[in-house]
């Protein structure tokens, strides 16, 4: 029996709608949202801890790299301590679920500062010093920029999911 083309189309639309609704309901599921938020938070924590550790352990090299950067050069000593200390402070906030939101906000803010710094270096610096460390030491400045933007997007997603979770719990109550 031939299939009515109009009906066939409506079946397709129904399937598509169901898929979209399923995806939405998956993200709006408090348990999934919570796990996703926690996973992102752990990734941010890991990144900041290895970053802070490497900056403190190789402090001489880090300060040397900073001193070669235009605009920052004269504040190199101050910046060389402020960056790892901020990373550790944000990591501490990320550890406890009660302060996780502030940690994610701090992470997003600091990553935005780093991203603006990289962007500024790409646009105005005459020579690009590569004093980055960790897993990203092999990346070029452009790839580093993409890496940072991806992490900012993840942190923003986690913050959004936290908000959604709060609304759902409020509605359930």
């Amino acid at each position: 029996m031939p299939v009515d083309p109009i009906n066939f189309q409506s079946i397709n639309i129904t399937i598509m709608r169901t898929t979209v609704i399923d995806m939405k309901s998956l993200l709006f599921n408090p348990k999934v949202a919570e796990r996703l938020t926690f996973g992102i938070s752990l990734a941010c924590l890991f990144l900041f801890i290895i970053s802070a550790y490497a900056k403190i352990e190789g402090h001489d090299k880090f300060i040397l790299g900073l001193s070669k950067v235009q605009f920052i050069g004269s504040y190199a000593l101050w910046v060389s301590w402020a960056v790892p200390v901020s990373e550790i402070a944000i990591s501490i906030l990320l550890i406890h679920p009660l302060t996780q939101r502030y940690g994610l906000l701090g992470f997003t803010g600091l990553m935005m500062v780093f991203t603006l710094y990289i962007l500024g270096m790409l646009l105005w610096a005459e020579k690009l010093p590569c004093h980055c460390n960790l897993i990203i030491e092999k990346l070029s400045f452009s790839q580093h920029l993409i890496f940072n933007v991806a992490f900012i997007a993840l942190a923003l997603l986690a913050l959004r999911l936290m908000k959604i979770k709060k609304i759902i719990i409020f509605k359930l109550l």
């Binding site: 926690f38 924590l45 890991f46 801890i49 290895i50 406890h96 004093h131």
Partner: protein
């Protein structure tokens, strides 16, 4: 009670991640004892890619500037003590990192 337990679990897992992160970095930067080979980054003082250890030196404060593009650094096997900072093992990297060695 359940919320408290979940929070404790999350804190423990987070601390575990902190431990893994620290140990990853600690092992990455571990220096070898005498007679044991390890890998490390050595800077190319000739600017041309080659396999001669005399053209590569270790520098605690060395850096690679992105420009001008040349052969800047490579990973070598080494064992302590080093003679004049040159690697005393085989070259690990298949190609040198591009940049210019800045030893200042």
């Amino acid at each position: 009670m359940t919320i408290k337990m979940t929070n404790i679990k999350k804190v423990v897992l987070s601390l575990l991640v902190v431990g893994i992160a620290v140990s990853t970095q600690a092992f990455k930067n571990a220096k070898p004892v005498n007679g044991q080979f390890a890998t490390g980054i050595f800077y190319n003082i000739s600017g041309i890619e080659n396999n001669n250890p005399q053209n590569y030196v270790f520098s605690e404060t060395g850096d690679c500037l992105d420009l001008p593009a040349a052969a800047c650094s490579a990973t070598w096997n080494y064992t302590l003590p080093l003679t004049n900072g040159h690697p005393n093992g085989s070259k690990v990297s298949t190609s040198d990192e591009v940049g210019t060695y800045d030893g200042n």
